[in-house]
Amino acid sequence: MQFQDSGQACELIDMLTVLLMSIFAGFLGALTGLGGGSIMIPVLVAFDVPVKYAIAASMVTIIATSSGSAASYVRERITNVKAAFYLEMFTIIGAIIGATITSFIRPRFLYFFFAAFLLTSFYGLSGRMREDFPKRLRQDRFSKWLELKGSYYDQAVRKTVRYKMTNAHLGGLGMMVAGLAAGMLGIGAGAFKVSIHELILKMPSKVSSTTSNFIIGITALAGASVYFASGLLFVGLAAPMAVGTTIGAVAGGRVLNRLPNRFVRYLFLVIVFVLIVQMLYKGIALP
């Protein structure tokens, strides 16, 4: 492993710059369910922070982003905690494997993986912008055994939405892949998790993004534990990021339930598009 900047002070940014940028990233990250990390990594590499350091710091930061807004979603009972407990078994295994891969892989690959990964989530959601709430469905036996159902009060449409989930076995496998990508790229992989929740498990949009948010904290801890052991974790970078993203994420969490599902989706699509372009550019421009 080698880092072009190792042993030097980062010239382009300091803790204050990181703090301010993170507030904005945290706000957008919470609204879209992307998490502040996937927005901050492309920003940090644009300022010449070595990509592995950015990934490791982001991984820790995500714990704050996730937990800060998850706290209010869980209390408002939008999050389905049982689904989260079941699914995080898979994401933590994936995250540990993913973070281990990143500790050894060449940095250039990470830019392309980052872009490619975001691309998959972009396609997953853009195809079904109209369907807001899933219709009644029959649960398979395994999903029923796992008690995967729930209800929440949706402020945008002013009614209680009841729902059941299905395909728990496939959902688990999908979440393992999501965890792998999350651990590898230092992101929450919220985009991918939301796609799995909605397309495979058939969760309603808001349950899906808040449950994904909740799972991200544990997945990030699993990844962070590997980066900690690999010596890639720098507190000077992680601390201001964590402070900034948390402030932004709490603010974003307060706004989310008042927004229509469709607006949340469009915002998500626009941000994902910008991030893909930035990482592709960085990967190609790398000397």
């Binding site: 042993g7 300091d14 209390r75 079941y86 052991a229 974790l233 964590a242």
Partner: protein, 128 residues
């Protein structure tokens, strides 16, 4: 649609663990950043291998940071590290809370599910 009434209590407990853990760690990190500035007169981010969080396993590292702070030999970097440690412990604690809850609720299914998560995380934090 029925829900076990106690599940709301778990959700409330989780919610408190998350919010208290995050607020406390963010507060400590903010203090750490101020302490860093007052001792260095700048806020530059230095990437030096010996400044990375490492050494022993996570629990051993945590122990050394806490000892440094208790003995009064702390550095601003250790305050920042303490904030990050607290942040990492926060989701860990909510898993512990869930294991305890499902143990008391005699929900074997979810006891094993949450216990699995706890064991894997503990093992990963012990590695170095």
């Amino acid at each position: 649609m029925k829900r076990i009434p106690g599940e709301e209590k778990l959700e409330l407990a989780i919610s408190y663990i998350l919010i208290v853990g995050v607020l406390l760690s963010v507060a400590i990190e903010a203090v750490g950043i101020v302490a860093y500035y007052s001792s260095n007169r700048n806020l530059s981010i230095v990437f030096q291998p010996n400044l990375a969080m490492s050494g022993a396993d996570f629990f051993g590292y945590t122990n050394s940071v806490i000892q440094g702070i208790l003995l009064g030999t702390w550095t601003p970097m250790q305050i920042l590290a303490l904030g990050i440690i607290l942040l990492m412990i926060t989701p860990y604690l909510r898993v512990v809370a869930s294991v305890i809850y499902f143990g008391f609720a005699k929900n074997t299914k979810y006891l094993f599910i949450t216990l699995f998560v706890l064991v894997v995380l503990t093992a990963s934090l012990l590695a170095h």
